[in-house]
């Protein structure tokens, strides 16, 4: 039995396969959020609140992205599903999970502790923007993808990098930071446009996937074929997903920011 999805040289079948590492990981993320909120509430002298529904939704999205069949298809068969995984983990699950952190829990990260300083610096908008783009670039370089997706540990690391990159990127948008009053909605919208809609890194990766003469990733080019989808077309779909999917998610997020802002301004 395998604990995490990775590329395999076996033909794809729709026969369900268990990946216990995925279950443990999703449970661990959920328990971390729950425990963090509980400690925060205790410190604040308040009763712990139940998990936020959006946080539960984030856990479900994370599980769907990592487990069979999406996880298995994305790890070793289709570049397009690999890209869908990235979007689900970094761009959808990450902000939903952040919504589950209570203000009491977040208060634990403020102050002069080393952890607090690391969190404050790494979640500053510019640092977070750079972090996501570096994560995207590194995890889509052909040599890294082909080298890491063939092992369970490598595949796990890529998924974790996506989740961490997504958490950092969404932090300035989702988590209220009183110390950062200058990051007003207009700047948040600009941040999303630059980070997702017109990210040079994402557009660059997407352009390479769509316009390269031959498939970029050997993992997916040499994977046992599924249906009539050619590896080149699979790469084209992956590129389109990266550019269009990121823009759609950014558009939804910035629309919410804009309408909330409008409502507040009366």
């Amino acid at each position: 039995m395998r604990w995490w999805c990775s590329a395999q040289n076996t033909a794809w079948t729709w026969e369900w396969r268990p990946y216990p590492g995925v279950w443990l990981f999703v449970v661990a993320v959920g328990v971390t959020i729950w425990y963090w909120n509980r400690v925060g509430a205790q410190r604040a002298g308040r009763p712990p609140a139940p998990m936020h529904p959006l946080s539960v939704l984030g856990l479900i999205v994370l599980w769907l992205a990592l487990d069979w069949p999406i996880g298995a298809l994305g790890a070793g068969y289709l570049a397009s599903i690999h890209m869908l995984q990235f979007q689900l983990i970094a761009l959808i699950a990450a902000p939903l999970l952040l919504r589950g952190l209570s203000s009491d829990a977040l208060a634990l990260l403020r102050g002069e502790s080393t952890l607090a300083r690391i969190v404050t610096r790494s979640t500053a908008p510019l640092a977070a923007l750079v972090a996501l783009n570096v994560a995207v670039l590194l995890t889509h370089l052909p040599g890294i993808v082909d080298g890491m997706m063939s092992t369970q540990v490598g595949s796990f690391l890529i998924d974790v990098i996506w989740l961490l990159g997504g958490l950092l990127f969404w932090w300035p948008i989702v988590v209220p930071v009183p110390e950062r009053p200058r990051f007003v909605p207009a700047l948040q919208i600009g941040y999303l446009v630059l980070g997702l809609m017109f990210s040079p890194v994402m557009f660059g990766v997407a352009a390479f996937l769509v316009y390269s003469q031959h498939p970029l990733f050997g993992t997916y080019e040499l994977a046992p074929p599924i249906g009539a989808l050619t590896s080149k077309n699979d790469h084209v779909i992956a590129g389109l997903l990266m550019s269009v999917g990121g823009s759609v998610i950014a558009f939804v997020a910035l629309s919410k920011i804009f309408f909330d802002w409008s409502k507040r301004e009366g």
Binding site: T10, A11, Q213, H214, P215, L222, P224, S231
Partner: protein, 350 residues
């Protein structure tokens, strides 16, 4: 090097060696000549591998249509690269897929499956014993049935995983194991066809300008002199290249069967010697006149006697111009000089 798939066989036909070929495929430590075998095409007609692929780059692969991985990947990757190659290079390549599962791979199924990749791919069937013997002659371990873990398949077939590439000189020097990527094929195929990978871009550019690739060319009827056994002979052509760019004659194929190879006779090293050449250049605005003691075409293994007075259709292939079919007339040796004079005279009259 692992040379098999779908069952984990190993094979010792090819050993990875230091590449001195400039190719990304795996060089063979001992190159070998194209084998001779005849199998059935998917339309039921006989396919003489050596004859049909003579002078072409032949990519020979043994596999089966129910193969879950190696076979469709090789075929898909080769097809994807061929689709982007210029016509001149694509035309010089033949992809031959010999089924190692003739029981399930009916002619119809094999034909449909291959056409899904490229209608030009040749599917061949034959008796299992024959196919085993062909594989053995190539140093491959004959394919074997293996149990399938997948309930949708009765069995898998373990078979060699490499594509054997025969050059246009009918010799295999390199194989392409499983794991060969489209980028590798795109690099190597132009080299195998005679042009360099760098030239491929230029060739692509040329092929996008069809008016430039078609030369003004005139070809006189061929003159054929049979050898004593009448199944072989020498053929002489006269071709005028009136265009401002060079063209190359790289293949002559008797339409009804048989093998033709380009040769040149020379006395530069002392006594008259004859050697096979891959192609014959025709400089711009010049005349290629084949004569005894110079360039000529050798005919071999002709399916019917070369009887004086009979005629023979021949297909000529050029690097830049379209292929053309001409007629050749068989004459006796005593008639050769006058026939060649007549050939040149008829040519001059044009």
């Amino acid at each position: 090097m692992a040379l098999s798939a779908c069952g984990g066989q190993s094979d010792a036909a090819a050993n990875r060696a230091t590449s001195v070929t400039g190719l990304r495929g795996t060089p063979l430590s001992e190159p070998f000549a194209k084998p001779t075998f005849v199998l059935s095409r998917t339309d039921g007609t006989a396919y003489d591998f050596a004859r049909e692929t003579h002078g072409k780059v032949a990519l020979l692969f043994f596999g089966y249509t129910n193969c879950p991985d190696v076979c469709p990947l090789h075929m898909a990757n080769i097809a994807a690269v061929l689709a982007k190659m210029p016509w001149e290079q694509r035309e010089a390549i033949r992809v031959i897929f010999v089924t190692t599962d003739p029981e399930r791979d009916t002619a119809e199924r094999l034909g449909t499956w291959l056409a899904g990749f490229d209608p030009g791919f040749v599917g061949l069937r034959g008796a299992a014993d024959t196919i085993d013997a062909i594989q053995s002659s190539l140093g491959l371990v004959p394919a074997t049935r293996q149990p399938s873990a997948d309930s949708s398949q009765e069995y898998l077939v373990g078979h060699a995983a490499q594509v054997i590439a025969f050059g246009r000189d009918n010799v295999a020097r390199v194989v392409y194991p499983f794991g060969t990527r489209q980028d590798d094929w795109a690099h190597d195929l132009p080299i195998l066809t005679g042009g360099s990978s760098d030239n491929a871009a230029a060739a692509t550019q040329r092929s996008s300008q069809p008016n430039v690739t078609v030369l003004e060319r005139a070809i006189a009827p061929a003159v054929i002199v049979p050898a004593t056994d009448s199944t072989r002979g020498a053929l002489y052509l006269t071709i005028r290249n009136a265009a401002a760019v060079e063209d190359t004659l790289y293949a002559v194929s008797p339409v009804g069967g048989g093998v033709a190879t380009l040769h040149v006779s020379t006395t530069s090293a002392g006594p008259l010697t004859m050697k096979q050449v891959r192609s014959i250049q025709i400089p711009p605005r010049s005349l290629l006149a084949m004569l005894p003691g110079g360039h000529h075409v050798m005919l071999d293994s002709m399916p019917r006697r070369l009887a004086p007075g009979s005629s023979l259709a021949l297909e000529l292939q050029f690097a830049r111009s379209k292929k053309v079919v001409i007629q050749g007339t068989v004459v006796t040796y005593a008639q050769l000089d006058s026939a060649l004079a007549l050939q040149r005279a008829s040519f001059s009259a044009r």
